[in-house]
């Protein structure tokens, strides 16, 4: 197979082309850098492109291949990957899209970044995001918004919107994001690509700048399910640096079965996810996908998950509470921005005023309030109990079905500025992704086609904890059944 444009390739194609010596890693990397140079002014996916580091890593791979290394332990050699700017990269600025960390250069790599490098991935740069991963549109970046490659007047979703846009624009074969309440699945849906949130604890959080520690999961984006599986298998597994990282075998997805995996599969369709707020495009796209799955032999089981509507309120107590505690470390003393003050108190207050943008301040206020004396039980304590009820909904559902199928986002990509004036409206749109986050189970968003608007629609598949292999195998079957989207050319 000869492919002219390495960015018509998937990550697996690029790995094969590199190993077969059809393309050198330097050639592939240069074509990524050229594409970024041509189009990222319009898209704004990157905060920082590391041309020098990427080309040096590629040259090392080429030299190894030339020296006879078969690259069998480097499953990503040949692939170009982008990394959300919330993951520490040694020697490369890591800002979280915040003024607070504008000049921060980490002295170490995040665990997941080190795993990508070990697997032979070339890291092309750091991608834009909502500041400290707080947001659903990437408009809360302190530096610039990111635009959706399908329609530059729309957002790519968020908070990992830069990574999603980088893959949808084919600036990189794949990318890492982080998903706390849907920050990988929702942008994957809005940009027509695949986003997998693994089970909480599957992937080390070492070197991930913490937002909500009981929810944060490093998560891959890719053009295809097979590529998402490849990235997931490269970053999953135990790490002694993270006490919540789980030591369990990482089973591989079975990508040989195709759509035949759907035969006899019990697919739960929870009615609470298909309520009034769904766009016509989303509801039609989901209906079509579910009908085709049924025609391929899946058994659709309508069921109820009665606490779904409480997930937004629960999440927006728990996540800000954890964030207000985690972000206390930004005090102007040890690293990051410092605004001078007469005394320590005024130094803290001024540093945090200047360093944090409005959404981060809003969540710190919300979280601090929910944890404050007199309100702790009514807000934080109650939300922790509702989290238990939401988890029970999942336990009961998975007693009846193998996977759940829902929309990823109630709408297709929305216009820049459309929701910024009303934070609650932005939060309410997270309703489909928050429950799986609160419960910790793995969930994946897969494009199922374009709506009448010409914009992509995402299907969310959810599996029980630690069943990523099942989730990816099923998603691969659905992808084979429905066909893949052609991503926009940008030319």
């Amino acid at each position: 197979m000869t492919v002219r444009d390495p960015f018509a390739m998937t990550a697996l194609d690029a790995v094969r082309a590199f190993r077969a010596r059809e393309r050198s890693a330097v050639e592939i990397t240069r074509s990524a850098l050229d594409r970024v140079a041509r189009h990222d002014r319009a898209v704004g996916a990157f905060l920082r492109v590391d041309a020098e580091g990427a080309l040096a890593a590629a040259a090392t791979l080429d030299a190894r291949l030339a020296a006879g290394d078969a690259m069998t332990d480097r499953p990503l050699a040949g692939a170009v990957v982008a990394v959300k700017d919330v993951l520490a990269t040694r020697g490369l600025r890591t800002t979280c899209a915040s003024r607070m960390l504008e000049h921060y250069v980490p002295p170490y790599d995040a665990w997941t970044v080190a795993r990508l490098r070990d697997a032979g991935a070339v890291i092309v740069g750091k991608t834009n995001m909502d500041e400290f991963a707080m947001g659903s549109s990437t408009e809360n970046s302190a530096f610039h918004p990111t635009r959706n490659p399908w329609d530059l007047t729309r957002t790519p979703g968020g908070s990992s919107g830069g990574s999603a846009a980088a893959v949808a624009a084919r600036f990189a074969h794949a990318a890492l994001g982080t998903d706390t309440g849907g920050s990988v699945r929702q942008p994957a849906a809005l940009t027509g690509i695949v986003g997998l949130k693994p089970t909480y604890g599957r992937v080390s959080r070492y070197g991930l700048v913490a937002f909500a520690s009981s929810l944060d999961v490093v998560s891959p984006f890719a053009q295809t399910v097979a590529d998402a599986a490849l990235l997931y298998e490269s970053i999953a597994g135990p790490d002694a640096h993270d006490a919540t990282s789980v030591d369990r075998p990482v089973e591989r997805a079975d990508l040989s079965r195709g759509a035949s995996v759907l035969k006899g599969l019990r697919v739960g369709v929870p009615r609470e996810y298909f309520g009034d707020g769904l766009d016509a495009d989303v509801s039609a796209g989901l209906r079509r996908a579910l009908d085709q799955m049924a025609a391929a032999g899946a058994e659709l089981v309508e069921l109820s998950m009665p606490h779904t509507s409480h997930a937004v309120a629960t999440y927006y107590v728990l996540a800000p509470a954890e964030a207000s505690s985690n972000l206390a470390r930004f005090d102007g003393v040890r690293y990051g921005l410092r605004a001078d003050g007469r005394d320590l108190r005024s130094l803290y207050g001024a540093t945090r005023d200047r360093g944090f943008g409005p959404e981060v301040k809003r969540r710190i206020l919300l979280g601090t309030f929910a944890l404050s004396a007199g309100y702790f039980d009514a807000f934080y304590g109650r939300a922790q109990k509702v989290r238990t009820l939401i988890a029970r909904d999942f336990t009961e559902a998975f007693a009846k079905v193998d996977v759940l199928a829902t929309p990823t986002s109630p709408t297709v990509a929305f216009k820049l500025g459309e929701r910024t004036a009303d934070p609650l409206a932005m939060y309410l749109a997270d309703v489909c992704t928050l429950p799986a986050s609160l419960v910790g189970v793995p969930a994946l968003s897969l494009p199922v086609g374009l709506g009448a608007s010409g914009l992509p629609v995402g299907l969310q598949l959810i599996a029980p904890a630690f069943e990523e292999a099942r989730l990816l195998t099923v998603a691969h079957g659905v992808e084979e059944l429905l066909g893949r989207l052609s991503l926009p050319s940008l030319d």
Binding site: H310, R334, S346, P358, A383, K385
Partner: protein
């Protein structure tokens, strides 16, 4: 629990978070937080008297490892990110009266 989010409450909460706010931020934050807390108040409709809280989704024991020395981040490397440091120490304004 009905909460009245007044500008004074916003300022008091910001003070707990060691966060200075500009005067023109306080009013808008009060209105937005009021809407968000009113939405959260819907959780009160649920009877959770017999429900145990979930603080963490994994059933984890506290993991232990060997107490063996291993390389970490060097002091100079860590201190290199400090806004102000002297002689291997972080410099802050005086906070103890002489």
């Amino acid at each position: 629990m009905a909460i009245d989010v007044t500008p004074a409450r916003v300022r008091a909460t910001a003070d707990l978070a060691r966060l200075d706010l500009r005067d023109d931020e306080v009013g808008p934050f009060a209105g937005q937080l009021q809407k968000i807390l009113d939405h959260i108040a819907a959780l009160e409709a649920l009877d959770v008297s017999a429900v145990a809280p979930t603080s963490h989704v994994l059933d984890l024991a506290c993991p232990l490892r060997e107490d063996a020395p291993a390389p970490g981040v060097l002091r100079d490397e860590a201190m290199a990110q400090a806004p102000r440091s002297e002689q291997g120490a972080f410099v802050v304004p005086q906070f103890v009266d002489e």
